[in-house]
């Protein structure tokens, strides 16, 4: 697979020597508490901001040169921003983009049909933008950004995310999307990059986060009768107890022994061993 994005020891006003590569057709999530870090990275990748040092390549172009062939192959969607014309139907903007990106008529129609069905907007295509709801406007904004079928799609804190899987599968587009909230990604992505205070803290598969950073697991149990809480204090750290339910945090290495001891010595009805919620693990990494 080719590399769509290469970032090597990239520094800017807010970023500190970050490095990663993204393969063609990959979907990667960028998460981190600070919006400025992620937006700065997105803007550098789109060619809107310069880097102070390091190397950046997107589709083999230096983004900051803003070569027209480069601009024809990428798309950046920023949260809270839109380029729709308030008093006119969104289709007018699509037509303008068709001219700007020099999309042949047949290809334009094909792309538009695909996007209309993906976002289910056929009935509001000719409605003036000021009469659309926020989510409808967001869909139109997304169509305007995808009408030229970009090879690289950069989504900064997007309101719409669910479509990326289908879109990526159908078109093989490389997608980089950022968010402050990991819950947005758990079902969507295989790979994430965690950026905090301008540095990359983690870059890898979602599952790796738990094995790498979660040293403990959670035992969830329900009791048939009330117990003396002190009698199970040696098993692990009691996170919460409200009869009949108990949550105990136990080191990953001793979790099976802890579960066996709980089952043998206490009136347990149900027992389950679970991973820590990924949101909590990431919060701890960022701390």
């Amino acid at each position: 697979m080719d590399k769509a994005i290469i970032v090597d020891r990239l520094s800017s006003k807010v970023l500190k020597k970050i490095s990663f590569t993204i393969q063609t057709g990959e979907i990667v999530g960028i998460i981190g508490p600070n919006e400025a870090d992620k937006t700065a990275l997105m803007k550098i990748l789109a060619g809107l901001s310069p880097s102070t040092s390091g190397f950046v390549s997107v589709l083999d172009f230096d983004p900051y040169q803003r070569n027209q062939n480069f601009l024809k192959q990428i798309s950046l969607v920023l949260n809270q921003k839109n380029e729709l014309w308030w008093n006119l139907p969104a289709i007018c903007l699509f037509e303008l983009n068709k001219a700007l990106y020099q999309i042949p008529e047949r290809e334009y129609k094909k792309n538009l049909d695909q996007l209309i069905s993906l976002f289910n907007v056929s009935k509001i295509l000719k409605t003036p933008v000021n009469k659309l709801s926020l989510i409808q406007r967001t869909k139109m904004e997304m169509i305007a950004s995808l009408i030229h079928k970009p090879k690289v799609l950069l989504l900064d804190e997007p309101l719409l995310k669910d479509f990326v899987f289908d879109y990526n599968r159908e078109n093989g587009t490389t997608i980089l999307l950022s968010s402050s909230y990991i819950g947005d990604f758990t079902d969507l992505l295989r790979r994430i990059i965690i950026i905090s205070e301008g540095s990359v803290l983690f870059d890898g598969a979602m599952e790796e986060i738990t094995t790498k950073f979660a040293t403990e697991k959670i035992i969830k149990a329900t009791f048939s009768e009330e117990i003396d809480i002190k009698s199970i204090a040696n098993i692990g750290t009691i996170k919460k107890y409200s009869f009949p339910r108990i949550y105990i945090s136990v080191p990953r290495t001793t979790v099976t022994f802890a579960a066996a001891e709980l089952l043998q010595n206490h009136p347990v009805n149900n027992l389950a061993i679970e991973e820590f919620p990924i949101e909590e693990i990431i919060k701890n990494i960022i701390k």
Binding site: K43, S75, K98, A99, Q102
Partner: protein
């Protein structure tokens, strides 16, 4: 390339056209022309001044649009598109009626005074160079400079010089050549400044 830009203009300027705006524009310019002709009693001078009125209005509109785009940070959308941002700004402020009328005035003027064709070209180049210069300053200062207050001063200084040279007296070869040289240098300088402003905008 030109065809590409014409297609962009046609798509983008659609939003500026409406039945009312066409009628309104025609009435507005007719009134200007009648008043100018009553005062000056010279058709060609009235036409030139009418052209300048249209042009100055266009420059102001572009400054206003550029300021609005930079203030709201929507200017980045122009930078992300595969078309020169200055062209997009010019389109944003353009009105097809203005364009048609301006073209008509230029044709009438050139047909009436073929000997002043080069000077007319110089005059137009200077006007456009000034326009780019003002836009570059607007972008470069990133909305800190009250450009709309400075622009009338620039126009007051340059306009009499340009009018004096090209319309009233100067017809010598040296005069024509120096006007052309000055206008092309100014245009080159303004493009350089625009590119510099663009790099330093973000």
């Amino acid at each position: 390339m030109i065809y590409h830009y014409i297609k962009i203009w046609l798509s983008d300027s659609k939003k500026n056209i409406s039945y009312l705006s066409v009628v309104g524009k025609i009435i507005e310019y007719l009134i200007y022309f009648v008043i100018l002709n009553l005062i000056l009693n010279k058709i060609y001078l009235s036409l030139v001044l009418l052209y300048l009125i249209i042009f100055i209005k266009y420059v102001y509109k572009n400054i206003y649009i550029l300021k609005q785009l930079t203030n709201s940070n929507d200017f980045i959308y122009l930078l992300l598109k595969p078309a020169n941002p200055i062209y997009r700004i010019l389109i944003y402020g353009s009105n097809p009626i203005d364009l048609v009328l301006s073209a008509l005035i230029i044709i009438i003027f050139c047909a009436s005074f073929p000997s002043k064709l080069l000077l007319a070209f110089g005059l137009l180049t200077i006007l456009f160079a000034l326009h780019f210069l003002v836009l570059s300053l607007t972008l470069f200062m990133n909305y800190k400079l009250p450009i709309e207050k400075i622009l009338p001063l620039i126009i007051i200084v340059f306009l009499p010089v340009v009018l004096n040279n090209s319309l009233i007296g100067l017809t010598s070869l040296m005069g024509v050549l120096s006007t052309l040289l000055f206008s092309i240098s100014l245009l080159f300088l303004s493009f350089k400044l625009w590119n510099y402003a663009l790099k330093n905008f973000l």
